[in-house]
Symmetry: C2
DNA sequence: TCTTAATTGGAGTAGTATATCCAATTATAA
DNA sequence: TTATAATTGGATATACTACTCCAATTAAGA
């Protein structure tokens, strides 16, 4: 449903956020170990997140990645998906038709539309902080 | 969200069903024209649907494709997705973790799970007939 | 200033999804 | 039985996603 790049991106950001209080700057190696993700590939995704200003990077010794200006409480899952995938998870017609709306719906439109709206609003509204502060969440599980 | 193969498969089946009363057997060419889909690629998908027994094929002059035993009223969207993709649309953890359930959830599990259950039940329960007989559906739009 | 630690960027590889082409096969009908 | 109409199946092409490797760059600290 989500690309692996996008999954890595979300997990990366959740990891950096979860560390942002006691240990704001984390290295690539720490991240890829925490996620069980391939370091070189994770690095590309980090570059992308830096260019989108979700995080900041610092080169050289004691370098690494930390949250950007926005911070954990202003980044939503929906935003991350849009940055990595280039569009929202629910963008477009489920059957791939270029014209599909209330006026000219595909045959599945009436079934899928409410689900789409619901999913999209959930993703666009939930922030990284909210996810991490959920009291139901006993430990933060980001490993494969 | 769905692969193009899967979109073609659903649109193909909707088309065959919509023709199954007055004109049960349709040729590849008719199908790909109705969908605006590449004929050779559509053919591969038809082969797949034949091997899964959702439709039957007949070679030679006057040949073509028609619904299989199950018929339009017993095939659900969920089934088609599983046949083409190899698993349900909502299978697996949204963050890609191999272990993710109520006992050991990923950080997004509590948000995503209800959506997943809802989407899956909708897809597994709606049949091709139900989609085509929806009174809200004025004309059957399957073209790109 | 030199060494070391880190990100950055470019090029390249592997596998999968999408798509095409053509010969082989099968069935109809003249 | 021969020509024609159709699906089938195999080989191939192309684009995209996932991933790797390595040299270049930058910063810290001895």
């Amino acid at each position: 449903m989500l690309s692996k790049s996008c999954q890595y991106a979300i997990r990366t950001l959740l990891f950096i956020c979860s560390r942002s209080e006691d240990h704001p700057r984390v290295r690539l190696q720490e991240i890829s170990e925490a996620l069980d993700s391939p370091p070189a590939f994770t690095s590309k995704i980090l570059q992308h997140l830096v260019s989108a200003k979700l995080i900041q990077s610092k080169k050289g010794a004691n370098g690494g990645f930390e949250m950007g200006e926005a911070g954990c409480s202003h980044i939503t899952l929906g935003q991350i998906v849009e940055i990595i995938e280039g569009h929202s998870l629910t963008a477009g017609c489920i059957l791939g038709l270029s014209e599909c709306d209330e006026k000219n719906p595909c045959p599945v439109h009436h079934i899928y539309f409410p689900i789409k709206v619901n999913l999209n609003s959930k993703l666009m509204n939930i922030t990284l902080s909210e996810i991490l502060n959920d009291p139901n969440l006993l430990n933060i599980n980001l490993k494969t």
